[in-house]
Every structure is written in structure tokens, then in C-alpha cells.
Subunit: 150 residues, 4 copies
């Protein structure tokens, strides 16, 4: 299982896949900053967008799945607090592919001043929905991940 | 479709089905009070507990469903703000049954001083999962609803 | 407190304020359709966007609030199930103003075929953050609500 | 920053602080298993309970905070899928203290058969709310963490 050094995820690469959004009103907690699990939700939203952009939309696949990609590992490092209304870019900046697994690196930065506030990573294993045996990474996703890997 | 007058839901009845819980850290919003849709989540949690107590646990039914109970209508009135850490009782205090439908009334009060902070209601239609035609209310739920109706 | 007839909210008006989005992966429940309180979250997101478009962004106001707009009442009617990946428009299609209160009507439709799946409404009271006494609706919001009212 | 080996978190220790709960209806995703960020929410809920049990309830502290404990790092490993209705124990099974920091280890197991489904960890830094300088771990929390450390 590949694990990124967190500092390598601070860099915005040209091949990154990014989305801009704002921190939602309901995603902060009683301390007034983003509730930390919400960051993983934002990362997952961007992954869903990547799948769609790659021509392998998750909601279409789930109707009659030919693969599933359960998560094995997730982690995040938090550098600066994010507050309601902050405009951020969530970008997938790194990808390391193995036979039936991908490790993805995420970079969360304030959109207007390119200030890195957090980084995250997740490891997904591709499996056959019937047998739950490992299967190859589906071709359109493999291409998309390799493009990010640069 | 039966709709309760909101003031009738302010009363705690002896036949109510209630649960005590605390407002979660992550369920407040950037204004520091409960994010209003979270109240519906708390009501639904109590409904799930009622189903389990009635011997018709929703998670068991969903494995191979013999009925579904999609929501047709939901509403809530907010009287007093709820904050992180507040201890509340969420109680189902009213139920009106029709052939394949139930209207439920919820009362949310501060647990320690019995102060009503909100009331809510929801209307669920029971349907056959294969045909999506209306079906009778399952017997254990009918009994549980009638007990609340008093 | 003004309450809309639900059928009046089924119509998309020219003066509506709408946003297009997709149902998120995490916003469905164990029955595979949108968890009903999530619809209120989507409505609130669109309201936050309206405030920003009106020049009265909620996150800016909350830094040193000159008004608050707590919710008094919320309700929704669910006509058709929404599933992960469905592309929807959430539009504010109606507004009724009183001195220190606004009732808003929401229409949720499948974006590609203009099929109404749900309607919702909420009532907000404007208050002074120091005294919690009712205050006038702030001017930029009053203008925005009147534009929707048509 | 201390990081636990994930296998060390698989063991239930006598000094662990645990809570039993069920996977909520709304905490699964469109693939039918727990949406992975929800696991961090469950861990945080147990941490909030630990703070309260230690006599340093977070909601009381936040009214006029003498310390804050922002998160620096969080991670989780997922071994087995969790589904709606599964009864689990979320236990804090490890704690490593530094001057103004704590690393906590979490173990999530099916309550009825003691089957480990996931482990998680988080690192919190204690800071002075006025200066945001690091401060000592508050005494009641230090005691509680040391008890878990065993």
C-alpha cells in the first residue's frame, strides 16, 4: 500500500484534477471551523467528479456494477483552519497505481491565494462485485489516474 | 393526509415513545445553533428505534424488504435554539393511521427541564417494494402506532 | 406566518433563483434514495447562494452580525424519489415578505426533464443579534426576495 | 507526532474507553456500506464522551474556552464493511501524550462478535484560544489519557 509523504502533496501539479467550492454553512462545528471529517467528504466529491470526467461515472456503474472500489485507508493533515464561506480548491494531485489498487493524493487550498490548508490521501482496492476478489483497475480510470500521475 | 396542529404536539403523552440524546458537536452550524435539517435526522433516528422496539427493525426488513415506507411529507416548527451539548428528549407523541399511511408527531424538549424546543411531523406511505403499490401497514408497526395514538 | 399551497410551488417562474447540482453519493440512505433531511440542506445551500448574489453573503454577515435569520418553520413534500447522481435544479420560486419575516418556496426538479420531485418551504424571522428582537428585513435581501416574488 | 502501527490498535485493552452504538440509516452511501468519513464522526463522538466522563465536557469549555484542541492529523484503516443496523463498539484503546499534544487510537468492532472492522487515529494539539500558542494538556484530560495509556 503506497503512502505519500504529506509534504509532497502540498504542490499543485499541472496534471492535477481540481474543483473549486465553498465551505458549507453546515460543515463547520461548534468550534467554528470545518468539522474534520467533512474534508474527506469534499475529497470524495472530487473523486466522484473525476470518475464522471473519465467516462466511468460512479452512479452509472452502481446501477449494475462491474467493479467496486472500497476504501482501505484514508488520512489527512490539517495545517490551517477552514471556515464557512472560504472558497477552496480540492485537487487530486497525485496517483500511484498498482494492479488492483490506487493511492490518491489530495490538496486543499484557499482558492484566492493558493494557500494550502490541508492534504489528504486515500487508498482504494478494485474488486469484482460478485466474488469480492481483486480485479484490474477499469481502463478509463487507469487512464485518468495515469494522467494525474504525470 | 393528516396534518397535526403544531400546538397539539407540545404535550408529552404517557404513551409516547421517547429517546434521550445530546446535540452533537457537528450538528450545529456557523451560527452556533442546531442546523435545522439535523432535527429531522434526530426524529428519524427515533423512528428507527421505534421500528426495532416493535419487532420490525428497518435494517432487517431492508435485507429482503416486504414493505417500504417512503416519506410523503415532513415539517417542523422551531421555538427555541438548541446548542451543542444540550440534552434533549425526542419523543413520538402522536400517530394517526390510515389504510396504508401513518402521520407521526414528534416533540423535542430539553431533557432536564421539559422545555419544548421544537415539534415535527412526518407522513409515511407503506408500499410493496416490487410493485410500488400501496400496501397495508405491517402488523407490528400498526400495533406500535396505535399504542402511541393511545 | 405565510404557508404556501404545495401545488403553487410546482411551477418554475421566470423570476426564480435556481442552482443545478447532483445528488451526492453520501446523501442517499440505506433504502437507496435521498435521505429526506438532505433536501432541506440543498434548499439551504441555494438560500446561501441567493444571499451572496444579493450582496449580503451570510459568511460575511456572521463575522460581525447585524442581523440573524433563524428558522421558524420548514416543510417539504416528496413526490418522486431522487437517487445518487441525479442532476437537479433547486430553485427558490416564491417569496412572501412581512415586516421582519420571509416565507420562501422551493422547487426541486430533475434538471434534464423538468420533472418536479419535491417542493419545500421555510419561514425565517429576522432578529437583532444583540437583543433578539425582531428587526426589518435587510435591504439587499428585501430587494432579492421581492424580485423572486415577481 | 506519534503515529500508531495499525495492528497495535486491533487489540481491546482493559483500560479502553468504549461506547456501543448502531450504524445509522443515513450513514451508509450509495454502495450500501458506511460512508468512510462517518467513521471519523463516530470516533469524534466517543472522544466527546470521554471529555465529558473526564469532567471536561467540550460544550462547557466552548462557552468560554480555556483551551482548544484542533486536529493535526487523522487516519483510518478499513478492514470489513459496516452496514446500516450493525451494532458496533467504538473504543479509544491507545493514547500517547506529549507536552501539548495527544495521539489517540480507536478500534471499531462489531459489538456482538468482537470482530475488528476498522481502526483509526487522530492527533490533537492543545492551544490557548487567545494566542493560539501551544498550551499544556488540561489536567483532567491528561489524567484520562494516561488511564487509557495504561
Amino acid at each position: 500500500m503506497h503512502r505519500f509523504e504529506r509534504d509532497t502533496l502540498r504542490r499543485r501539479t499541472d496534471s492535477a484534477f481540481g474543483e473549486t467550492r465553498a465551505i458549507r454553512f453546515q460543515d463547520v462545528d461548534a468550534a467554528g471551523i470545518i468539522f474534520y471529517p467533512r474534508l474527506f467528504e469534499y475529497c470524495h466529491d472530487t473523486l466522484v467528479s473525476l470518475f464522471a470526467a473519465a467516462g466511468a461515472a460512479l452512479h452509472e456503474n452502481l446501477r449494475s456494477p462491474t467493479w467496486l472500489a472500497p476504501i482501505r485507508h484514508a488520512e489527512a493533515d490539517y495545517f490551517k483552519p477552514l471556515r464557512f464561506g472560504d472558497s477552496i480548491e480540492v485537487a487530486i494531485v497525485a496517483a500511484v497505481l498498482a494492479d488492483s489498487e490506487v493511492s490518491l493524493g489530495f490538496r486543499i487550498a484557499k482558492a484566492d491565494k493558493d494557500e494550502v490548508c490541508a492534504v489528504a490521501q486515500s487508498v482504494h482496492t478494485f474488486v469484482n462485485p460478485s466474488t469480492f476478489q481483486r480485479c484490474p483497475v477499469p481502463e478509463p480510470l487507469r487512464v485518468a489516474f495515469l494522467r494525474i500521475a504525470g
